[in-house]
Symmetry: D2
Subunit: 362 residues, 4 copies
């Protein structure tokens, strides 16, 4: 048990605060012999990096990852891989107010109450979204593990499917579109709607929530285990552990509440000697075990709590204040959650692939 670790056979432990000297993680359980370069990890970190469009925070971090252990002559040795990312953009500013205020929507009050008044308030400390860089770095290794065991098979991709009231048009879904707009939208038309909408949100100093969808293709049938090692239970924990996430669903998700048994049960036929499903309401998971269909997860990200409008908060001394956040913030923190969701999917699948191989073999 560890509060700051995730996974079992493939397991990572993260550490670090927003404004400390560095953040990082230790990835344990990687099979030996996998070629991994810092550039392989950097590729995914760069996707997550702030400051790439006007819709994400302008904090500029090079986010350069260093590999401190577990690699030899370019290949994994099977021992723990320690990754570190220096915090370089630590502006020396006056934190006086934040130190004594509990901002609504933030974890200020809960950290303060839990940890007996001790709290690294600078930039949110441990509760900062900056920690997600460690997840993305670990996720890069998880992808390598999947590729190592199942060469050129599993594909994991994420997209933003909703910002505020604006959902994408699923009939227009085009994975090729996702990399072409600053929102990871699979639908170009909706991307344009979002652009205009987010500009107005940003200008008004407000923020808005979003929904992310992550899809894993070519996941072999059989990953996951009843009943507390279910693939969907681990995915739910993985996604809910991401900052600002308030809901997780698999396949039809909450819509399953409105479906009849006839509509919900994915029918099966044989195709080329294999089981083929005629629909995927299950999101690729039945009884906690992958079906071989696409594994489909969605999660809801709440709006950034740092906004320019004054909100009622309290102080550590028991006073009442109006809290206003000035300076850089994301109008829609959900955008940056897309690569994080992909990383968590990769981590869960890599762990379950090793667990399945351990118990049953491949």
């Amino acid at each position: 048990m560890s509060h700051n670790s995730f996974g079992h056979l493939f397991r990572f432990t993260t550490w670090g605060e927003s404004h400390g000297p560095a953040i990082g993680c230790v990835v344990d359980g990687t099979p030996p012999g996998i070629a991994i370069t810092p550039a392989d990890i950097q590729h995914w970190l760069d996707r997550r990096k702030p400051g790439q469009s006007r819709f994400v925070t302008q904090r500029r971090e090079p986010d350069t990852v260093e590999i401190l252990s577990g690699m030899f002559e370019g290949r994994s040795t099977g021992t723990p891989i320690s990754l570190m990312i220096r915090n370089e953009d630590q502006r020396s500013k006056d934190y006086g107010k934040i130190a004594s205020q509990f901002r609504p929507g933030h974890a200020d009050y809960t950290y303060w109450a839990k940890y007996q008044g001790i709290r690294d308030y600078r930039g949110g400390g441990r509760s900062s979204a900056r920690e997600t860089a460690s997840r993305v770095a670990a996720g890069a290794i998880a992808r390598k593990v999947l590729d190592h065991i199942l060469p050129q098979a599993v594909e994991i991709r994420g997209a933003l499917v909703q910002i505020g009231p604006h959902k994408i048009d699923r009939r227009a879904w085009d994975w090729g579109e996702v990399e072409k707009n600053p929102f990871w939208s699979p639908d170009a038309v909706t991307a344009a709607v979002w652009e205009e909408y987010l500009d107005s949100v940003r200008k008004s100093g407000s923020s808005i929530g979003a929904v992310v969808e992550v899809v894993a293709k070519n996941v072999p049938v059989g990953l996951g285990a009843p009943l507390y090692g279910k693939l969907d239970a681990d995915l739910a924990a993985a996604m809910m552990s991401i900052n600002a996430v308030k809901g997780v669903e698999i396949g039809a998700g909450f819509d399953a509440a409105t479906l009849s048994g006839e509509e919900n049960a994915d029918e099966m036929r044989m195709q080329d000697g294999k089981v083929a499903f005629l629909s995927n309401k299950a999101g690729g998971i039945l009884g906690g075990i992958s079906t071989g269909q696409d594994v489909v997860v969605r999660f809801a990200v709440k709006p950034t709590s740092s906004i320019n409008t004054p909100r009622k908060g309290v102080t550590t001394e028991g006073g009442e204040v109006d809290v206003v956040t000035t300076g850089r913030h994301d109008p829609c923190v959900g955008i940056r959650a897309v690569p994080v969701g992909e990383a968590m999917m990769a981590i869960v699948l890599a762990d379950h692939l090793l667990r399945h191989r351990g118990q049953i073999g491949l």
Copy 2:
């Protein structure tokens, strides 16, 4: 790590199949000195028990729990509590077809594929909702643990808030109503709507999904831990591990995607020297740590996959069949999930209470 265990300091391990000799669980980590009788556990099991109305399966199980260890002279000793429930309603019927068929919507195919063709197909085997009796039994002990450490404080209650397209009217919410109708509805008017609706579903041999809400009152501030021991991450795993659950949300949940930062951030004032929140979009959890407000979780339950309409399935031999389920089944399995959700909430809170006391003290 264990596929069939849940929790850390308060931890339970379940075992058993629908049509084996018994099901049960081992509950570890209970503090010593807690008075627990079989009747205390039976009380909660009886709430979950099938056969209580025409809206749940007519399988009749006395579901009598036996305490095999961990108790002495009526009090917990601090050692593992082993609970067993005999399976008594094992009708000797012909399982021939089920043995060779993969029913759509069920875990038949995934278990078969994962476990190399070995599968206890009788009544769903390990994937049967019958396993949830073990959760409810463990949950009864978790409630005792909460009461032992925080006397007469934490209250955990569940309700059904949606069946198919019919949601309850939240303004009419009355906890007193929940025990008065066979659906755990907190809204009498909607209960009547559901009754009529479910009768039609049942008569047509179909089934329908539902949404369950579980609320924990008087949870102390400070439970949960960043970042992979977050209270909401553990609740998400707990609820998603329940049979047929396809989505979990905390507080505003998926609606948070449509909220602005102003709407979402629960403002704070001081009241009687304590922090008081003016709303609860967060569902009682910020940064993974309880705020002291009500902890609010909802989960979506898919419709029963066993229906009377033929659905396309395949056979273990690679043939194609039309599957029809005859005999007893729940038209809305979500109803029986209410006491299960309550139990999982109790288990997560008891575990986190012990973990918090371990690291920090109370």
Copy 3:
């Protein structure tokens, strides 16, 4: 984490007290498709069973194991296997004195102090050696797992190598002898010495310690993992967790303190294209990883604390008493520890085999 569980991928959880209704365990992580009968488990339980000679306790327990889950048509399904052994020899006697006394050498005082005065004092409760039946039952399944993955390879055997001052003559070691005497001695001459010696110990109402050695042959090279999942670290925990064990050593063990580097380093040559070691001071483990040589573990078992000579003890009320144990007890509890040590070896190896397969493959 669980106080009453052991192992990771192959993991068992035990429960039960000496004089409760039953004891048992839940074995999780067994691969599917392994043929296991109750008789397979019973075979090993019978070896451990008390009452087989005048040198072990005369408590007569049939120790009949029931399999409650995880098996279907004679083969493991991959889901948890629940095993239960009823306690049948619960003599209704007056426990009044034991209830209020802390016996020296027993866990009476520590259980009482830890668990706030709550203690099942009947027959030692949870601290009774009776719990080791669960280990032997789980060990029987572990052996099946080893055989399933490595057919007819790994052989695990235990022997008693010392009782009091009398050590076996290692030059006379004969595994065939082990089953022929009531001490599991591999040396017939020493067995005769022990017989006479133990008769005198028994008649004097005293007891004596012993050393057990367990050897696993044909363990593949590569099991174990640096640094906290070392094979020897897990073996040390496994053996030290057995009742009354006070020391564990691997290979040369404590004698390694007196060896020079030249003597200690097992030299290597090539033989038939494979690495062959010229000695086995390492006990088959280097750097926490198996070498392919015999894995050799020894553990010291303290003398039974229940003796007929009065010893100074105290009462729960703070009084001073002289404690005398009357009735059945083992003059040398180490004898019965042999099958238990074998079982723990099998469990550790099965877990590490699955873990190795998970991370690296076979």
Copy 4:
């Protein structure tokens, strides 16, 4: 589960190789509000540091620890503490031979076989004793945790009690002596004997084994939990996980095999209203739970395998070679194991203190 982590509520994860850029660890579960400075940790690291006498390796490492997270304004925040120690003495030498040789007594062959031929052979890589610096650093924090919860209570000290055939005279035991000689000997006379003896071992290019004893005073009664969370089982795993350790014993240890029940059972009397034991054969642990007496652990350390005498080894290509180690090495690696054993004791006690507080309270 993690191969490179140890502990449950107080848990640390280590990473790093001897000749990589750095080694380090992540310590999770530290209570908040504890004042810890880098100097506090450095103090213990300096004790372990090589190069301090002619009896330990002359590798000179400043071993300067950096705290990268989990601290704020000099106090622990309750979030993970990341510690890093740069490897500065990475002499650029030709590793050609070591790369292709399996040295007897080392983990070269087992790592190579396990990890499919991938191996960081420089300085032993992950199997280097250098990793123990991470244990000592984590142990420094564990000591702070013990002091925080039990102010000025628990004292942990280690000593060397045997080198080769030369044991200390226990009647001469003087803790004050331990810091005065380069061997951590509690007996000045024996220290002088060792000095002469080790000089001869060193000059002959050989090495020798040793026994370390670690004692924890003022451990409260009640730490540890039956049956797989026993304090002694965790101590056994902790000590056996240290490089080169081949045996662990508690209290009388292996001598318990020669004791009668009368000799072994520590008698009890009342003293000042408290239970007082008249001896400590149990080493402070009964039934896996601390008795309140000194917790006494000993472990055997094998001789350094790197010696100047040629020994038979093999090559990665299947050839046979004579291996000679030239250059720096410890004649008795057991000396440096003393601070490491102390650290592991502190870690186990801190973990169990938190676990006990979690389940039962203090």
